[in-house]
Subunit: 244 residues, 2 copies
DNA sequence: CGCCAACTTGATGGCTGTCAAGTCAGGTGG
DNA sequence: CCACCTGACTTGACAGCCATCAAGTTGGCG
């Protein structure tokens, strides 16, 4: 099922990957990227609804998303759980596992997806040899922390409309960075998953989408979203009473 | 003001530091710790109310707290801000700056404090030479991400009482790890700062403290907290309707 | 001693959760 | 091909938690 063939190896090589700009190899010379190829030698396909890893699984590898869409989900011992993020092509999964040698969240594919398996031991070894790789890996982790702080701010101080506006603008921006339309996309997650991520109930998400539509900011049809007024959404996000 | 004297160097050395178990040198051999001494050659004192760094400052160093207590604070462009964490002795400050080469939050001392300055370039260099240091540094960053996910879960799905109970238990546990009392301590932060961190208003924090006191869970007198019923607090935290 | 920031407590209102009913879209099987 | 079924979504009514506004208290510090 995931036997490494030499053909798949060829196809997997970082040096051929068009996600280079988003993934780990950023800033490496061509030569350095080629030696990265020894790092990533296996890909894995995950079908929609399946888990890449689950909380408690032994940590061994990081995963770079080659294609598809994931959610990560954390849980408390008393049965509560929450979506902690949505990840798309070029983003890294599994960083949470380094600290305890076990994964702390579930990573579930929201559509059929493919990931590159990055054995963590090898990554550390290469990071010791290639300063830019080390530096870039640290940057990726640091940015994840900064991103989480942004979500904490959102959860702690924004109202439902502001959260949803921020969410849509964030998705829009990430799609743009991948060459897709900034204003029109398909939501891979349900209202419930959006709500879980934003600390809202699914009804509130649905209601707020409808409100945005009434106000002419977006056009919603089930999972199909079209943002018709990006500046308007930004205004919704910033309306904390400080209009001057 | 922060001129490195040879005397202060001696006193700063990681090999003499009683926070070794909490800070970066965990898991290093005695020999390795000694070579760490070249890394940390300056300490800095921060008075209560002063900032160690501010959002936007160029990133150059990490800081290990030797003594004292800090809060970190993130802000949006529209004037909103939120406390993103409280840090005590043995914990690391500044990791958020690696990703963008600039700090993304303010670090403010909540009491007179002292930090060890860890030049980031040197840390990366040493991490390339000492595998355990590299590994430990990655773990520290990963744990910070996991911690943030926990806060996100708290902000997204817990009610005021649960948040405060979790907060008190977390403080209690961290004080315990440092050899202080698990049940009696002084809050270094104001109700407003607690509220900001937990996504609540200061009145709600105050009211909930009073409620806990009425219920015999804690005893509050201004900043002085005594937890009289730790299992009770844990029960408050877990009461999400799943009592079976 | 007096001032001020921090804190407590009360009254009221609004945002969002909860419960409920109905709609829509896609997939399956007859 | 169509009916049916199911999960996802929408919309409404109501309630509860927490924010807001307000007034008073406490404690530390000059």
């Amino acid at each position: 099922m995931n036997a490494p063939l030499s053909l798949s190896h060829l196809k997997t090589a970082c040096s051929n990957c068009n996600l280079r700009e988003l993934c780990l190899p950023v800033g490496l010379t061509h030569e350095e990227v080629e030696s990265l190829d020894e790092l990533v030698y296996t890909r894995k396909r995950i079908k929609r609804g399946e888990s890449l890893f689950r909380a408690g699984d032994a940590f061994q590898s990081l995963y770079a998303i080659r294609s598809g869409f994931f959610k990560t989900r954390v849980a408390t011992d008393d049965g509560r759980d929450q979506v902690s993020g949505f990840q798309m092509a070029g983003e890294l999964l599994g960083i949470d596992g380094i600290g305890t040698d076990a994964h702390n969240c579930d990573a579930v594919a929201l559509e059929d997806s493919e990931v590159c398996i990055i054995p963590y031991g090898k990554l550390e070894e290469l990071a010791r040899r290639f300063t830019p790789l080390q530096h870039h890996f640290h940057k990726v982790m640091s940015r994840e922390i900064v991103r989480d702080h942004g979500v904490m701010l959102l959860l702690g101080s924004m109202r439902a409309e502001e959260r949803l506006a921020a969410f849509l603008l964030n998705l829009s921006q990430r799609f743009t960075a991948r060459g897709y339309s900034a204003s029109e996309f398909i939501l891979r997650m349900t209202r419930e998953e959006i709500g879980s991520y934003l600390g809202l109930k699914l009804e509130t998400v649905s209601r707020t989408f409808s409100k945005f539509q009434d106000e002419g900011l977006i056009s919603v049809q089930q999972k199909h979203i079209r943002i018709t007024d990006i500046p308007g959404l930004k205004r919704v996000m910033g309306q904390s009473g400080a209009s001057c």
